[in-house]
Amino acid sequence: MGRKLDPTVKVKRGPGRKARKQKGAETELSKFLVDDDGPKKLSSRSRKRAIKRAQVTKEPKQEEKSKKGFSDENSKWLKPTQRKRKIEQSEEDEDSDSQWEEEDDDDEEGFGKKEMEEEEDDDDEDMVDDYGADEGDEQDSDGEELLPIERAARKQKKQIRKKPGSDDDEDEEEEDDDDEEDEKDDLKEDEEEEEDTVQANFDETETFKLPAAADRAKEGLLQMDLQTIHQRIRDNVDVLSHFSEKREEGKERSEYLSLLRSDLCTYYSYNEFLISKLMDIFPVSELIDFLEANEIQRPVTIRTNTLKTRRRDLAQALINRGVNLDPLGKWSKVGLVIYDSSVPIGATPEYLSGQYMLQGASSFLPVMALSPQEGESVLDMSAAPGGKTTYMAQLMRNTGMIVANDANADRLKSVVGNIHRLGVTNAVICNYDGRQFPKVMGGFDRVLLDAPCSGTGVISKDPGVKTGKDEADVLRSAHLQKELILSAIDSVNADSPTGGYLVYCTCSIMVEENEWVVDYALKKRNVKLVPTGLDFGKEGFIRFKERRFHPSLKLSRRFYPHSQNMDGFFVAKLKKLSNTIPTAPRETEDEVESTKTETAASSEQIQKPESKQQKPASTPEKSNMGKKQKLKPEKSETPIITKKAGVKSENKKSDGPKKAKIAKLDGETSKKSAKPNKKQKVKELNGDSTKEVVIEKKKGSQFEKNNKTKRKNLLKKNKNRMGKNKFKKLKNMVGQ
């Protein structure tokens, strides 16, 4: 048994064999280190010693200070060179800035050492401009020639100090030349950067001055540095945000705006066209955020391939490889955002085995909006590089079928690669121009159209867009998109039991490519907008500059890099209401709106008799309306008399046929009485078929929609394709 250790007996251990060495180190160190620990119980002697120690440290400082004046006895006749230099500087300053002449002198001599101290401290602050803030440097600077930055800094310090008195000076300055103004602006700007406390006062008194036109022309020749431009942009935006308070007298808002426009073009390297467009879309303060966001990359995001793995397992595997990641957000169950990674994220064995796909966060959205169901047939009209196609396949669990089409054969290779890598088996890949589509194949349950666009939402990925796009590009894109969306609509089968949806999306923020195209589709085809199911993002525009869009455009969504931290995107989900194509040209927007506007449960009844009266007088055109009349009895609705006035106000045109058309619409759309009609149906005037054609922009409820489709189906069962002799067939149907 060993010796028992008795804790109660404290054996005092003296210094061991090695103790001396250790102690020695401590004692040596303690010579250098000042013991700053808290209140140590000091005897009187140690207290005296501490005081002495403190004095000793102070003295060197004092010595430094007095260095400037040497020791006290010698200060009168022995002056350090720096001091002279300071005086010289101040003299120089006086020469350049007449206002501060006398004040400088006073300060210089009156402040003396204190000034030195201040300036030393200020030098420290100056050193923020990438000069090391060392005591050593400071001393050097004092002992030797001052660097130009320090001279300028000192000068500015004085200016700041004079600030209270300088307001008057500023007023005087207003009468000075513009050149000086700019200079002073610069100086003031630098001062602002330096001291925040001064900044607060500054903003209240400083007014942003628009340089005169002549001066701006000069700027074109001078290289204005970006710092100045940036400051000017900031000031300008500030003025524009509080225009009534901060504006200069006599200067119009447009002048500020034009200055801002040219500054933004210079600073962010955009062309005039794009900046003007962006200024139309965003308010000025948001515009700056947007432009700033375009300068930096969006975070890298990946999408888990649920056909092969789960997000949790994938995250674990990637973390084991050294990837720093997080789930993308509440709105996605399959997205992961990669913060940083020690391995190339596009080449991990997990990537190669198809467990995930590199995809931008904004690309998740159209597929989530479309939400293809298992067993459906889906068309992806512009599929390359295949991210959305594979996402749809995973949502459909490899059932049904997907047709992935792209007009560009080279980019199709990536689609093939991705489809095979991710294990998608239900896809057919083809290389058509999207506009050919309904001819090749039609009757899809859902269609996704990610239209080729100008790319103004993905400037962070492709800075060439900043300068490369102009009016013609945007209009050309818009034209192509309009054709494509019509083809897409025609490829959807409106009678699909589970679908009948089209999602139109672009990676652009231009209204010409987004809302305008969707509005065009609403006019040209029997479709309506439905909620996308995405609960975040900004609503689409209903009006923009001189254009007015259908109110249901509010259901579309816009996403921006600066607010949602994903690429700029636009998503709109459309439901096709009928397979027929309205061939009647919509002559005016008013007319269209009138047919589209909601009607309270029919004023049709009141209009019915009118239309019936019109019927006998009907021209061949109106014969269809007659048909419509006849069809009405088929519906076992009880007519509801509603405000005639209401409807009439909605119907802007009171032309006979149109009125009747509207009446038809009302009649046909009236559902069970209580519900307000939201939809109107328009019978084909030229009717290739007498299927009910429903034009809709609306917020129909699901229930009503189902009713409609039911009714449509009923009718369709009754009539097969109607030939030219519609009257007869209708008569037969009515006779049933």
Binding site: P349, S353, S377, M401, V415, V416, H420, N426, V428, I429
Partner: protein, 180 residues
């Protein structure tokens, strides 16, 4: 797109059976429908009959790919299996080889597997037998041909090749273009 001729079918099935043996019929008769092989531009595609019907609407020159590509026939009518068939062959593979994490990368770059990188190998692997290569996490990495029988693998020195590389998933990046 046309069905395979008898010879083509025979050649292809021979190749496939090197890897999955007689499980080929499992590829054709699946519980979720009948699947078939079709030839298009010298490539063999494996698809369900539903997709087949849809694909017949597309004209020959515009059709790029249908279902899954298994491989292609060379000019001399030999069948070359592509990595894209891995997902279908891996579950039915008869002989498997597991590769150590250190040599995983090397195999993914297209190199053969050496004894030092060999983790596990199925018993009774014959020489020149088609094998499917897995990582230690049971992720299929590609195809190979066994250079040595299992017995020989045990005895041979660490630097000798035990599995010849045929196809690996790294090809998705290395040779994306040849997929179509």
């Amino acid at each position: 797109m046309r069905p395979l001729t008898d010879e083509e079918t025979k050649t292809m099935f021979e190749k496939l059976s090197k890897y999955i043996g007689e499980n080929i019929r499992l590829l054709i008769d699946r519980p979720d429908g009948t699947y078939c092989f079709r030839l298009h531009n010298d490539r063999v595609y494996y698809m369900s009959e539903r997709i087949l019907k849809l694909a017949t609407n597309i004209s020959r020159d515009k059709l790029v790919s249908v279902g899954t590509c298994f491989g292609k026939f060379t000019k001399t009518q030999k069948f070359r299996l592509h990595i894209t068939a891995l997902d279908f062959l891996a579950p039915y593979a008869k002989f498997k080889v597991w590769v150590k994490p250190g040599s995983e990368q090397s195999f993914l770059y297209g190199n053969h597997i050496m004894k030092s990188g060999l983790g596990r190998i199925t018993e009774n692997t014959a020489q020149y037998q088609g094998v499917v290569v897995y990582s230690m996490a049971d992720v299929p990495l590609g195809f190979g041909v066994a250079a040595k029988t299992t017995q020989e693998c045990r005895m041979v020195d660490p630097m000798s090749i035990v599995v010849f590389h045929q196809a690996d998933i790294g090809e998705y990046i290395r040779s994306e273009d040849t997929l179509t």
